[in-house]
């Protein structure tokens, strides 16, 4: 039942003792996964064996992955370890993050589109906008994600180096959260992705941990460097941007509050908002292993150690920006949560009925009916998705009424008996 309250978009319903998700309201944020004490929500994941069809496989670990191991394990060592657990190669994504940061700066200084612009790199945020704030779709900055850019680059390099076709190379992302996994399986827009699969960080973690020693001893690779290393923590993205008014927000409660303000026409003087659905940003993804605060500390340490020197040539990236190398492919369409009815006149009638129904409910949002709030329950009943007798309070009231009627009837009967026979005798 904890998931009912945890869901920020009221997408969970408990029916016949089982929690289900209303897909048209779910934004894949993973809050239900995080709160369920029984681990009832299990994100569908892939494993190694799903990728045997490729001639060559490349692992692309989310930058979060670097923060999951001991305090001084270098990112380069972790990439080496991924080769030891079965991938043909591993490719760093943080360098693409740095490139994307430059692309964002270029976009901000070139286009005069509605402000504030919102980062689209957390897929749960993109779905939140599609479902709950469709009027803000134009505020999502139309730039591809670092994981997509990195996969494209990794494949291009390997095709050149090994003479392989693109479809012979499998690019596999190691994801910190279900949102990233689902975004790749059911993208919010129809397009070709350079990523072929996703494995959760929690699943590959033990294998990598086992070979870290061997990875350290293996042939060293150049250090991973640049500010892109900071992307998985709150403020990591905006730290890469120069000047411009910019803020970073994490956690859906706060994100939704700010989105309401933007819809009200506020925050126009802010140019860029980095948004994360997880309260501790990507290091707090539900498919990670390490405590998010420890992980955050490690990211800060890595930025200190390797961040000073950039990994990208700014001029080269600017040229690529002009060639639309970073432009988002396709458009993100609105998919608003279903209204009470498609027809406005009917929707109005249903809202009247819902409000009447709501007045009969206890208004304590107990969740026993399987809906997150009394209001949501009333709407479900009106839409025909739930029965009024699922509310224990309504059932109790009915019983109370029935019992009262019964007791009244018994009382009347008694009175009649008392009133007739004894007194009658007396009178006679």
């Amino acid at each position: 039942m904890k998931c009912l309250r945890a869901c920020p978009t009221q997408a969970v319903r408990v029916r016949n003792g089982k929690a289900t998700l209303l897909r048209d309201r779910c934004i894949d944020c993973g809050e239900c996964v995080r709160t369920c004490p029984n681990k009832a929500f299990i994100p569908r994941t892939s494993s190694f064996s799903d990728f045997t069809g490729f001639k060559y496989t490349i692992a692309l670990p989310s930058p979060v992955f670097y923060s999951q191991f001991g305090k001084d394990v270098a990112p380069a060592t972790i990439l080496n370890a991924l080769k030891l657990v079965g991938f043909d190669d591993a490719f760093d994504v943080t360098c693409a993050s740095e490139a994307v940061s430059i692309a964002i700066e270029e976009y901000l200084s070139t286009y005069d589109t509605p402000r504030p612009l919102i980062s689209p790199f957390c897929p749960a945020i993109v779905r939140l906008v599609q479902i709950m704030y469709p009027s803000l779709l134009d505020n999502l900055i139309p730039i591809e994600s670092p994981m997509e850019i990195a996969a494209r680059e990794a494949k291009r390099l390997k095709m050149q180096e090994l003479g392989l076709r693109e479809d012979e190379i499998g690019a596999i992302y190691l994801a910190p959260c279900p949102a990233k996994m689902i975004a790749l399986k059911n993208p919010p827009r129809k397009k070709h992705s350079f990523l072929d699969g996703v494995i959760p960080i929690s699943q590959i973690y033990p294998n990598v941990l086992r070979v870290l020693g061997a990875a350290e001893a293996a042939e060293p690779r150049p250090d991973v460097r640049g500010l892109g290393l900071g992307w998985p923590i709150l403020g990591g993205q905006v730290a890469c941007l120069k000047a411009e008014e910019r803020i970073a927000i994490a956690g859906l409660t706060d994100v939704m509050r700010v989105f309401h303000e933007i819809e009200n026409g506020k925050l126009k003087d802010i140019h860029y908002i980095e948004c994360h659905s997880c309260p501790t940003a990507c290091v707090g993804g539900t498919l990670t292993v390490e405590n998010p605060y420890i992980a955050r500390g490690r990211v800060l340490r890595m930025v200190e150690r390797y961040g000073a020197e950039p990994c990208q040539d700014r001029q080269k990236i600017k040229e690529l920006v002009r060639k639309n190398y970073f432009a988002l492919v396709g458009t993100i369409a609105p998919s608003p949560a279903p209204p009470l009815d498609e027809d406005i006149a009917r929707a109005i009638r249903k809202m009247h009925r819902r409000n009447q129904m709501y007045e009969t409910l206890p208004k304590i949002d107990c969740g026993a009916c399987g809906a997150p709030t009394c209001m949501a329950f009333a709407a479900d009943v009106v839409k025909g998705d739930a029965d009024a007798d699922q509310c224990v309070f309504l059932v109790m009231k009915t019983f109370e009424g029935m019992t009262k009627n019964l007791m009244d009837a018994v009382g009347k009967h008694k009175k009649r008996l008392q009133g007739t026979s004894p007194r009658g005798d007396h009178d006679a």
Binding site: S135, N264, K266, P334, A347, M351
Partner: protein, 141 residues
């Protein structure tokens, strides 16, 4: 049953903490009724401006939203100082906001013009010393 639905909200003056609540609730209501996002956004902006005017200047007010399949109508009626010269108040940049209000990001003199820009019909009546009534409407189709 009725082809119209209405809801009344109370707003208190100086309630900066609760300011914006009504526009959020109206937004939720319109979304549940399946009103197009662009209309919802315009109603939200106009309602928010009306609401913040009440918070900043008036004692208390009611905001009524009324929806038919053809239009959304919002009436904000307050008890407060009133607007002595509505024509002047409609000019962009004209503001009587105090430095404190400006500090909070309000008082750019865009409130009423912003309501006008985002709605199809607007009428304002006011009696100095008594209060102000702002009514606006947006066509749905």
């Amino acid at each position: 049953m009725s082809r119209k639905i209405a809801q009344v909200f109370a707003v208190r003056g100086k309630d900066f903490l609760g300011g914006g609540r009504v526009s959020t609730e109206i937004k939720t209501m319109l979304r549940e009724l399946g009103i197009a996002p662009e209309i919802v956004r315009r109603v939200a902006i106009a309602t928010y401006e009306a609401e913040m005017n009440i918070v900043m200047y008036a004692e208390e007010a009611t905001i009524t939203v009324e929806l038919t399949p053809q239009a959304v109508r919002v009436v904000a009626e307050d008890r407060g100082p009133g607007i002595p010269d509505i024509g002047l108040a409609m000019q962009e940049g004209f503001s009587t906001a105090t430095p404190e209000m400006r500090e909070m990001g309000f008082g750019a003199g865009m409130g009423l013009p912003n309501i006008k820009r985002n709605t199809d019909r607007l009428s304002i009546t006011s009696t100095a010393g008594r209060g102000t009534r702002v009514e606006f409407a947006l066509d749905i189709h």
